[in-house]
Amino acid sequence: MATKAPLTLRVFQLILWSLVLLAIGYMVVPRFLPTPQTPEFGPGVPLSSPFTLVNQNGESVTEAAFANKAGAWFYGFTNCPDVCPTALTEMAGLLQALGDDAAKLNAVFVTVDPERDTVPVMKAYVEFFDPRIVGLTGELPAIADMAKSRFIYFAKVPQDDGGYTMDHSASIYLTNAKGEFVGTLDAEEPLTTKLAKLKRLIGEAA
C-alpha cells in the first residue's frame, strides 16, 4: 500500500491541477469556437436589418417598405434646434433639386428620442420640411435595436435644467437599392456635391 499524502495536501494538489487545466482550457477552447463577428463599418455593409417601427401616419412599417430603392437615412430628434433642422432642410432641398427623380429615393428621418417624438410630433416635423420624408418612431428598444444593427450611435445626455439632449450620429447615411451602405452626406459638403452623390446613387439603382 502506497502511503497517502495528508488529505489537505491532496486537496491542495487537486485545486492546483484544476487551475492548470482551466488555464489550458481558456487558451485552447476559444480557437475552436467561431470567432464573434466584429463587423467593420464601410461601403458594402448591409444596412437593411429587419425592424418594425411606426411612420408619421401611425402605420406600422418594416424594412420591407424601403427595399429595392436607394435611401438617405438621418437619425436625430425633433428637440434638436441646430443640427437636425439643418440636416432635414438639406434633405428637403435635395429632394426638391431631384424633382421627379426624388421618387427613386427613400428619404427617412428616424428619431432617436421616441419618448418625446410621438407620431403627431413626427408628422408635424417631417411635413414641415418635406412630406416626402418618412418619419420613423416606435418603442425605444425597437429604435435601439435598429440603430445598433445599422451602426448608429445615440445616447441621452441629461442637462442642468432637468431636461435632456441626445448625442447622435451626425451624417446622412446613403444606401443603394440592395440596402448596402455606400457613403454619407456630410454637413460641410456643398449642396452640389451632395446632389451629385444622390444622382449617382439613384442612377445606379435604376
Binding site: T78, C80, P81, D82, T86, A124, Y125
Partner: protein, 168 residues
C-alpha cells in the same frame, strides 16, 4: 390711357417690392453706445415645436469687453446658449457656461462653430416672417431690446450674412 400705364407701373413696382423677402430687403440691426447687434434671427420652427434656435452677430466698438448673459423673450420659457459639435461623427450639444464674451474692439458670432441660442419651451410657433421681440442682457450694456426676424428652418449665420453682408 397714360394714367392707366402709370398705375400699372406703380402697381408692378409695389408688387416686386412686396415679393422680395423682407429679411433681405433691409439691413437689420440694433445699437447701443458700444455694441452693434447685427441681424438677429430665429429659425422658423415646425408646428408644435418645443425648441428653437437663434443667431446674431454682436460687435463691440468699446475698449472694454462685455458679456452677453442671457436673452429674454415671451416666445420661450427660457433661452440657453449651446454649442453643437460633431466629434468622430457624433453630433453633440453642450451648454456654453457663464455667458458669451464680446471682446473689446471685436465681435462674437453666435451661430459660428455650432454655437446658438436655444429657445426652450416655445410658447407658440415661430413662423417664417414673424418678428419676435426679445431683450439681450449684457453685463455692462444692460438690457437691450431687439427684434429677431424669422428665417427659414435651415438658415445659418453664413446664409443670413451673405444677404446682409457689409462687405467684409
Amino acid at each position: 390711357m397714360k394714367t392707366r400705364v402709370k398705375r400699372f407701373l406703380v402697381g408692378a413696382v409695389v408688387a416686386v417690392a412686396l415679393m422680395s423677402p423682407t429679411s433681405s430687403a433691409f439691413a437689420h440691426g440694433f445699437e447701443t453706445s458700444e455694441l452693434e447687434i447685427i441681424h438677429p434671427f430665429l429659425r422658423a420652427t415646425p408646428p408644435g415645436a418645443k425648441t428653437g434656435a437663434g443667431y446674431v452677430i454682436i460687435r463691440n466698438s468699446g475698449s472694454e469687453p462685455d458679456r452677453l448673459l442671457g436673452i429674454e423673450m415671451e416666445a420661450a420659457a427660457r433661452v440657453e446658449f449651446h454649442q453643437s459639435v460633431v466629434e468622430e461623427g457624433i453630433a453633440k450639444m453642450r451648454p456654453i457656461e457663464g455667458g458669451i464674451e464680446i471682446p473689446a474692439g471685436g465681435e462674437y458670432r453666435l451661430g459660428a462653430d455650432g454655437s446658438h441660442a436655444m429657445l426652450v419651451e416655445l410658447t407658440g410657433g415661430i413662423g417664417l416672417g414673424f418678428l419676435v421681440e426679445a431683450t439681450l442682457i449684457f453685463e455692462k450694456a444692460g438690457r437691450v431690446p431687439i427684434t429677431f426676424e424669422v428665417e427659414p428652418a435651415g438658415a445659418t449665420l453664413e446664409s443670413a450674412d451673405a444677404e446682409h453682408t457689409d462687405g467684409h
